[in-house]
Amino acid sequence: MNIAEEFDLIVIGSGPGGQKAAIQGANAGLKVALVERERQVGGTCVHYGTIPSKTLREIALTIATLRRNADVFAFTLKDDMEVSTLMRRLDMDLNSYTDFVAEYVNSPEISYFHGRAALEDAHTVSLTTLKGSKSYLKTKYVVIATGSKPRTPPDIEVDHENILDSDSILSMVYLPRSLTVVGGGVIASEYASIFSLLGVKVTMFDRTPRPLMFMEPECTTKFLKDFTENGGEYIGETQYESIRWDSVSQVITRLDNGTEISSDKMLVAQGRIANTARLGLEDLGIKLGRNGTIPVDNNYQTSVENIYAVGDVIGHPSLASVSMEQGRRAICHALGVNPGSKFELVPIGIYSVPELSSVGLSEEAAREEYGDDIIIGRASFDEVARGQIAGIEDGLLKMIVHSKTLKILGVHIVAEGATDLIHAGEMAIINNNDVRVFLENVMNFPNFGEAYRIAALNIVTKRANALDRQPESRVKNLIEQAELN
């Protein structure tokens, strides 16, 4: 085995986790190699996932806004303009983002290799080029950031033509009239709501009674209300019995409750599996977990000391934001550098229409931990001046605090802008603030941040009422507690 070159660090995969690890390594003075099997850098995040779906979402919102205001500005949208415009913008955004990422990783300290990597041993990575030639690179450390791909149930024939997955859904060059979405998770809910807003008749079904089961039920109720108002339908607590293409124009889905759904296209969103095949991990003694994921410890170290893994390839939470931080922390650990306090608080952002976002404890989790010692405050966006101005009146911010300390335990938002707005709550939780921080400090006005102030007022009012009524009878106390929670 001839070693072509020696490195301090080899990063396999150029998605968010891999980029961050490579850059962190280069900044620390390591000689870094970054290996990417695709022709362009960026990984699934750029080409099939985060960026394309969010771009499509922005376009759908723009079209919806234009339609809503067409009479105000006395113009009409040409029907045939929408899809072509939509796809052109998608391509433009992808190209510019790919260029940006390429520039970002294109530093003199990072050697970029286009090819497939596999681990020959703990310190040797083989690189196979498109022409099939193989070379070997030596390294002290390896970071695996190879991402994931859609999981396809064996009884659904995903042909990427009529029955698509989340990688091929955006290859469609025209909007179907109808779309069936199999699943109730993040990807399913995002695409279902986006296509619904674009005027596609969307039917989503899943085993769960509501989509996004891990989110606060009040938020998903609002999400479902919007989805339904846009023409979508969610069928819960059901499974498919059969899914078939009719060889003409329709995908026919038969559910176990007897319902038959006919649609132009189908999206199968049934989870993801890690891209760990052909990496040679088993030969190194690394046992793979569920869906091919790589087990790691708190430092993202695998069972082989010098091999780290970050991002989707290690499974939950599979968020680009978390992957980047994992990449940074893996390198810090490898170099013996303190990465800072451990992040335990991970905000969840769902880029559906409307957006949902969440940080900290849910009401259910808070009750489990603190019993009835919690107070819940709510702000409806029709009370928020900026919401009225922007026509975003259907949102909700729900804040959960400890009733004695008033420390914020969790924040849950459903509304346009929720994924941005959540960070104020996240910082308040991280800083151990009590809810009065939103009342005793100045915020811009009019601003969606006012929702925090309204929810905080709601909480302190409930608490004051509760304290005033403490001496009252047991029955009144129970009524009050019911109001309180």
Binding site: K78, D79, S84, T128, G132, S171, V173, Q250
Partner: protein
């Protein structure tokens, strides 16, 4: 010297035909004639009350002439309902099989039937190759997670200029009582088919992707747009040639074509594509009229 201009410098029969082809290209609208057996199949299917809609759908997908006419008519002012129809699947979903059946009948009645005595075998081979290219185009796009329907059409219509060229040559030779050997016909077709394809793609207002791929599939790297689709079209027609005439190729040489690398296919990806040969053959057999 361009391929077509090499035929226009003297007055041999071949050059005379080349000159007329050139003139015909500039002065008239070009039509893709319908193969008699295709027209016959259209009438059979549409008159049979027991016909399955899937058979009619298959027919529309299987023939260059019907497919291109369906696209043209679906996008015409009469039927066009807003969105541009960019795939046959979309046409089927939007217009419905009854209307498409009527369009197929109209095409078969109103258009010239293919009349090129002596060239039937060549045309059959061309159309089979187009169908195999379409089928392989689907497999390539599936593997790349790109649009499958669009690539099917790119494969089906990539050589649309060739049967038109053959028909034109047959007509000119008949009108001028000229006899041409097969080699000369092949040279003329080779010289003119892309120019014809470019003209018909524009005249028929075919989707942008088809206009680019029919023109640039052999020079995919210099395509001004739809480079990937042009490369995929090139690969699909290359693999179709291999499926139809395997004796002319060595599989291990075939996978060295630079187009595999251009499309980011590693050697094992290429092998997997070659392994689709039997599926493609089966699809061509099932769809061929």
């Amino acid at each position: 010297m361009s391929q077509e201009s090499q035929f226009t410098a003297s007055t041999s029969p071949k050059h005379q035909i080349a000159a007329e082809l050139e003139e015909g290209l500039n002065s008239s609208s070009l039509e893709l004639p319908v193969m008699p057996r295709v027209a016959s199949k259209v009438f059979t299917l549409t008159n049979d009350p027991n016909t399955e809609v899937s058979d009619l759908s298959k027919l529309i997908h299987s023939d260059q002439s019907i497919a291109s006419h369906v696209l043209r008519i679906a996008n015409s002012a009469v039927y066009g309902g807003g969105d541009q129809i960019v795939s046959l699947q979309q046409a089927v979903a939007r217009l419905g099989m009854n209307l498409l059946g009527e369009i197929a009948i109209a095409v078969s009645v109103q258009n010239d039937l293919f009349k090129a005595p002596g060239f039937e075998a060549q045309i059959t081979q061309l159309l089979r190759h187009a169908l195999a290219s379409a089928a392989y185009g689907k497999e390539i796009s599936r593997k790349r997670r790109r649009n499958v329907e669009g690539q099917f059409l790119c494969g089906l219509l990539h050589s649309v200029g060739k049967p038109i060229a053959v028909q034109l040559i047959a007509r000119i030779t008949k009108e001028n009582e000229i006899s041409l050997d097969k080699k000369s016909v092949a040279q003329l077709v080779g010289a003119f088919h892309r120019k014809i394809a470019k003209k018909v793609a524009a005249d028929w207002k075919l989707p942008d992707q088809l206009q680019a791929t029919t023109m640039y599939y052999k020079r995919y790297e210099s395509a001004p747009s739809f480079k990937d689709e042009s490369a995929a079209t090139y690969l699909s027609q290359l693999l179709a040639s291999w499926v139809i005439n395997p004796a002319n190729f060595k599989a291990n040489e075939l996978i060295k074509d630079p187009v595999f690398g251009f499309l980011n296919f590693y050697p094992d990806d290429a092998e997997e594509l070659l392994d689709k040969k039997d599926d493609v053959k089966a699809m061509v057999s099932a769809m061929e009229i």
